[in-house]
Symmetry: C2
Subunit: 457 residues, 2 copies
């Protein structure tokens, strides 16, 4: 049965790539209000495609923010399972534009890769699933399982309205398991079962000093410089050994056992120096870079600013300094508790002469871990291996997909992460791309997977 489906995908390769290029051309940047209509256009693209494939009940659900696209095909036999497929059609901002080698919203093929914002995260991977559904419907006239599709437009801004929808529409969205294609493989050509994700929390903090910027000659020596105060405050949060110094931060972290350290050791390593250009890797004392990225919590400054940023010199003491902080969390850590610990630490370590204000990051998520021996996961491994011709590795990753935790919490169903990104994709950065080979092998994997899981009820 899958031969016909695979042939269809091969025969329609160019047309599908052109259609994806249209999808990528819509600058659906969810964080910027300038792109509000573009986000709606991308939702419309997805809804139209679902209707074209033959999905029912297709609707563009309004939210307080950007819309969510729903559609379902429930024509399979009653003894086959229902899967909830989740993805997102919104993308990160493309800035800084000058660092792109081609237009971010005009997909271009170079060196076997498709370059465009969203090519990997997540429009490209959403499109692969839809194309596989199309191939099944056009060749077999049906899908192997019942499918509910939920493609949101707010993932890159913290899925602000998704939790409420998932909680409110439990009947409409209910399924036997969920599938998400918004993740990656540890190396090009290395099929990867992702069985754990990190949780997430964050803060924006501002230190307020003088009411206005001051002349550094007239006031230097009388007032605390908010930027220097910020440097002192931030440097108390993590030492140069990359150990977070916030009291209680590691208290509930489930320690890595030897078996898991071995599992991580067995994963082929990304050459971080080569892929990022850093002079050397740096990770938490006592842990390898691989262990730290995959399975230890992190604290990062995502942005920091205050004072004069223009050309030349402006001899001021700035009135304030602001830092954006986020943490990636591991199983055992409660994001709300960690947020409170961070605030407590800041309050306890703030230098004199400045006042602290804190904005809590509204998004938070617990870390997620699934049993790698679950039948749905085993079938994923089998499908990957068949498509890529190589044994899978089992990994945990540093990224956070809050929806995974929410589906787990609300629906109590397994979440299967079928991702095809690679370490070279430059997610969230200029020159995002996706290897064309993974479109083909990824779609093959999905064709096999839907067939495999038809028996999982």
């Amino acid at each position: 049965m899958s031969k016909k489906v695979l042939d269809y995908l091969q025969n329609n390769h160019e047309r599908l790539l052109n259609k994806l290029t249209e999808f990528l051309a819509i600058p659906s940047v969810s964080t910027s209000s300038v792109h509000k209509q573009d986000v709606v256009d991308a939702a419309t693209f997805v809804a139209d495609y679902l209707k074209e494939i033959g999905f029912d009940q297709v609707e563009i659900k309004k939210t307080k923010g950007h819309p969510l696209v729903y559609g379902e095909w429930l024509g399979a036999k009653s003894n086959v399972p229902t899967a909830l497929f989740y993805g997102h059609y919104d993308v990160q901002p493309a800035e800084p534009l000058e660092l792109w080698d081609s237009e971010p919203f005009k997909a271009e093929v170079r060196d076997g890769r498709l370059f465009a914002r969203g090519s990997s995260d997540d429009k490209g991977q959403v499109f692969m699933q839809l194309a596989v559904f199309e191939a099944y419907m056009k060749t077999e006239g049906k899908l192997p399982v019942n499918i509910k599709v939920c493609i949101e437009g707010e993932e890159e801004i913290g899925s602000e309205n998704l939790y409420e929808i998932l909680a409110d529409k439990k009947e409409q969205f209910s399924a036997d398991f969920a599938v998400i294609s918004d993740s990656g493989m540890v190396d090009n050509g290395q099929p990867t079962i992702l069985y754990g994700l990190k949780g997430f929390t964050g803060l924006e903090i501002t230190l307020h000093g003088p009411n206005a910027d001051l002349h550094s000659g007239m006031y230097g020596g009388a007032v605390r410089n908010p930027l220097m105060a910020m440097a002192h405050l931030l440097s108390t949060m993590k030492d140069v050994d990359e150990v977070v110094q916030v009291a209680g931060f590691y208290d509930n972290v489930i320690p890595l056992d030897d078996a898991e350290r071995q599992l991580i050791k067995d994963v082929p390593s990304e050459d971080f120096i080569q892929s990022t250009g850093v002079p050397e890797t740096v990770s938490e004392k006592g842990y390898t870079a691989k262990e730290h990225t995959m399975a230890r919590p992190t604290l990062e400054i995502n942005g920091l600013f205050g004072g004069y940023q223009g050309e030349g010199t402006k001899t001021i003491i700035p009135s304030s300094a602001t830092a954006k902080l986020t943490c990636r969390l591991v199983p055992g850590q409660n994001p709300d508790e960690i947020q409170e610990l961070l605030i407590k630490h800041l309050e306890n370590h703030i230098p004199s002469g400045v006042k602290l204000s804190v904005k809590r990051e509204p998004l938070s998520a617990k870390a997620y871990k699934v049993d790698p021996n679950h039948p749905l996961i085993e079938k994923a491994a089998k499908s990957y291996e068949k498509a890529f011709g190589k044994e899978v590795v089992y990994v945990r990753m540093g990224g956070s997909i809050p929806v995974v935790e929410w589906i787990d919490a609300i629906y109590k169903i397994p979440v299967v992460l079928l991702g095809f990104g690679t370490p070279d994709d430059k997610l969230h950065s200029p020159n995002e791309s996706f290897p064309l080979e993974n479109f083909d092998k990824g779609m093959k994997t999905l064709v096999y997977y839907w067939q495999e899981v038809a028996s999982c009820k």
Copy 2:
């Protein structure tokens, strides 16, 4: 003789204020290339005014940057001295514009103050000198002393071309002493002899990490975050007691003796908390805020930036972090040596995993101190006291006027600082202003002073 001159100033008060308003309306922001023509227009305003007063040899001297206005009046008897009057017609940027209560380049009188960028620093004070010259010429037909005028357009960007001109045109600019009106008084109505200024040096430093911004989930734990590295690095430069930790920084500082500490104690104190809005003052351990601002060296971060600064969250590890640093120096410290010490400190303390690049601030200046008992200073004190009706105080200040050190170094002549600003002027900040009372009393002081020093040859 001065009665007629003072009457002239009083009778022409409104016309002169309108003329100053025209001068302040020219946005001669030297740091921004957008304002290149405005800077030229301000130079033209000064040159036209000098010609109108009756100055000779008036010229707008081209430089590699913004022009300098020269003019001279050498019609006094040969037994009276020649003074070089220096000022600047360029101003600081007005940004952030939204914090101004009235247009920065549309002078407005409120509460007895003239609000506009440059009203105090330094267009307003330059204009006072020119108005006094006008008053003398229109009433007496001559000035009490020979005057050479040098008004530059690059003070706010480090007087980049002034040193070369002063060194090249020694004959043209030569004088018996120099007068500068670009400083302030310690309190409203408190005439102040400024007998010392701080020196200056600076650096812009960047820490380079990954080649591009990275996804904080995928790379957090493998690479050093340049912003956190910057926080650590900056926090090593100055401790929370405001003591600079750069090795050698204080080595050549001439210590404050008890006499000078007493002198500083006697100066009426600015209420820093009231004037700046900080929750408390903070100064170097072992020194009062007054001692630190006036007579101890400082190190300040004037700007700091890296990563995402927009709305919401962008979960990246930024590729770089940049900080702008400047120091105010005291007698004994060599700015070039201090710059090297700073760089050495940074190189010795840079965390692993990032690379440092350094841009040296081109401007540097030694601190300046003049004998408060010099006859030219004594006559300044006498003139201030006559105009303001109050005994002068003698102070050193934290600001830097590199030209003072250059005139000292090149011409070996005393520099007299006749300034009329107040602590409430908000120099370099939104809502810069200058008290109208000081226009009147300041011009009186100048009228007296030029008459007093006519005998100083």
